[in-house]
Each structure stands twice: as structure tokens, then as C-alpha cells.
Symmetry: C2
Subunit: 187 residues, 2 copies
DNA sequence: TAAATAACTAAGCATTCGCTTAGTTTTAAC
DNA sequence: GTTAAAACTAAGCGAATGCTTAGTTATTTA
């Protein structure tokens, strides 16, 4: 009946995601998305409605990709050791060649203003809440741990993880590994 | 010979700084600066050359204001205890009413792209290097501390401080205090 | 082969951005 | 009081933003 799409929507979102990851949401213009995704603006808006739609799909893909790491955490019964593994895995996940891009979600939280885009903000909050829940779950696996302290320890770990997302752009790899090691000392 | 300025440059920078602090650099437009500073665009450019100039002056003022805290750290001989105090003081410093604004510098580092504005980026790096140096200095005051570990511990503390700047916008005050307490446990 | 329709191209829309400039008002020196 | 210069107002500059639309091309169905 009509012409077929000359691009694969999943493939172009993969490219969009990498651009957002490197650049942030606001700093990535639709013209840049055009070039990176290799399709015209018309096609972008036809497939994803608007720039926000492209980003939300990018977050979905990011979530799917990082699942390979969170799944390990989710299926583990090794308490805090698995959380530490998650930190190292995350660092590896955020690597692109020699540089670290941080976490797409954390990067965006830092950039977006709460009231400027509540839809995106809600998606981002959902993401980090999920990770914190996994931390709590795993902390509870350690028998000797004081249950009353678990919530505070989860916050502490989230703080370290958020920090790591920024630090990874500033510090060297061996510094980052030291940071993780010290974070889990005596916890 | 001529008309006098109808505004005080220090006063209007104070207002600009607070806006940047809440909003970030890119997200703050010159139109917003006009309103907040209470002066016309012409006056802004006459006094500070350009938007970047306004921001650099804002950083200077921020530095001057946070000196009340860093001075305490600089003049202390209490080792890591003084660093912990600095964390609590910073939290208080970043408070505006019920909400926490984080650190102006950290907020901006997260927003600015390295190559998009190297001048501002350099100013920001200088700022955080200074704080890390203070951390190293204070860690060395503790006799029993292993000197080889001090650099890594300074990185760890910077990571926690960077994290705190983000966390302070998400977590409640008592959560933040718990995070600081756990950060300094057993260090 | 012809008609129908989805997918494409490219130009252009209104708005906002950082910044400038033409023209007016105020004030100090003479 | 006159003059000169700095400080002001407000309009508008070119470029970039997110998004739309008029017009063309390609492909499926009949």
C-alpha cells in the first residue's frame, strides 16, 4: 500500500541514547539528533512524537541495557558483596573507550529542572527508586546487620553511587576503584 | 562629569549568584538575569561584559561566602573531625529555607560540557581542587593514619561530597545527616 | 500498469537565545 | 546655564531552538 520505513526504530534510538548519554537532554538539539540518528526531523517526529518522546525511548533502552547488571544484583543472595559488584559493573557499563560517561539518568537529573519537565523527571525518579530498593533487599540478606540501620545505609550507598556518576568524569580509573573499595570498607 | 550607576554591582551579583545557584548556568537566560538583578541588559553587559562574566563574578562571590566554612577547615588541627564538620556546615550553607540547592560549582560542573565553555570549566576545577587539598592537609594531621592511603581517602571524601550535592535535592534532611555520619564511620 | 498512501526531503514557522545599538535621560564640570 | 559624557531605555539583530508543513518519491495492492 505504501512505502516502508528506511530505518529501524530500535537502531536509531540506540544512537540517540548514546548522544543523550554523552551530552545531556537540553544540550542535545533535534538537529544533532538528526545527524546522529541518520534520519530527517520529519521521521523523528513521526516515529517518536517529539524530542521528549525520543528521550523517553532512550531511557527505556538504557533501562533494558543496564538490566544485564541489575539482574545480577536482583538474583544474588550475597548481601552487600553483590552491591559492591554492582558498583564495579556500573563503572564498566558507563565506560566508552577511555572515558566514563556517568549514568544517563543521573546526568539528566542534574540537568533538568523539576518543574521544567515533570514527565522526564518522573521517569528518572522511578529509575533511581528501583536501584535503592535493590540495595535494601540485598542489605537485608546479611544476618548480622541491624535492620534499623538498613534504610540509612541504602541512602549512604545511593549517595556514593550518585557521586560516582560525577566522579567518573573527573577521576582516573584507579582512583574510582579506590573510591568504591573505601565506600564498602567496614559497612 | 556624568551620570552615576543606579545600582550596586556587588548587590546585583548577589542576586545573579542565587539565580545561577537555583537554576544552573545554561538554564539561566539573560532575560531572567535582567529581572532578578533588577537592571537592564545594557547595564549587565556594561558592568560584566557578557553572561559568562556575570557567572565568573558569581563564582567569586560564592567563593567568598563559602570561605566562612572553608576557613574553619583551613584553621583546624583536628584531622578528620574537622572535615566532617565541613560536610555539615556545607549542608547548612546550601540550604535556602526548606530546600537544599546543592553546591553552585558542582551543579554547574554537571551541566556544562567540558569543551563548550573551557573558561568556566577551569574556574570550577580550581574550586574543587582547593577543597580536596584541604582534605589532604587535614587527613595528614591524624597520626595513626597510613600516609599511603590519604590520597585515596581524599578522593573518597570528594566523591561523598559530590554525591551530597545531588542527594541534598532528593533526600530529606535527616537522611542527609545519616549519610554524612556513615561516610565518616571507621574512616 | 495505475491508484493509493506511507515515508521521505527541505523549506520555513514562531520563539528564544546572547548580544548590540540607536536614541534619551541624568549628572558632573565648567 | 551649557556642555559633555556616562547610564539608562527599548527595540531589534542574527543564530539556534523545537516543531510543522507543502511537495516529492517509493512501494504495496488491485
Amino acid at each position: 500500500m505504501a512505502r516502508r520505513k528506511q530505518y529501524n526504530e530500535t537502531e536509531v534510538i540506540e544512537k540517540a541514547m548514546r548522544l543523550f548519554w554523552r551530552n545531556g537532554y537540553e544540550s542535545t538539539s533535534v538537529r544533532m539528533l538528526e545527524k546522529e540518528m541518520g534520519i530527517n526531523q520529519f521521521s523523528i517526529y513521526a516515529s517518536f512524537k517529539n524530542k521528549e518522546g525520543v528521550f523517553l525511548e532512550s531511557i527505556k533502552l538504557y533501562n533494558a541495557q543496564i538490566k544485564s547488571i541489575t539482574n545480577i544484583l536482583e538474583n544474588s543472595d550475597n548481601g552487600i558483596e553483590s552491591i559492591k559488584t554492582y558498583f564495579f559493573d556500573f563503572l564498566d557499563f558507563s565506560r566508552e573507550g577511555a572515558i566514563f560517561k556517568g549514568c544517563l539518568v543521573t546526568n539528566t537529573v542534574n540537568e533538568i529542572k523539576e518543574d521544567s519537565n515533570p514527565v522526564i523527571m518522573a521517569a528518572l525518579k522511578r529509575f533511581s527508586t528501583n536501584i535503592r530498593t535493590l540495595f535494601v533487599r540485598n542489605l537485608k540478606q546479611d544476618d548480622k546487620r541491624d535492620v534499623k540501620e538498613i534504610e540509612a545505609q541504602a541512602d549512604y550507598l545511593m549517595n556514593a553511587l550518585l557521586g560516582l556518576s560525577i566522579s567518573s568524569k573527573v577521576f582516573q580509573e584507579n582512583q574510582l576503584k579506590n573510591i568504591i573499595n573505601i565506600t564498602f570498607l567496614h559497612l
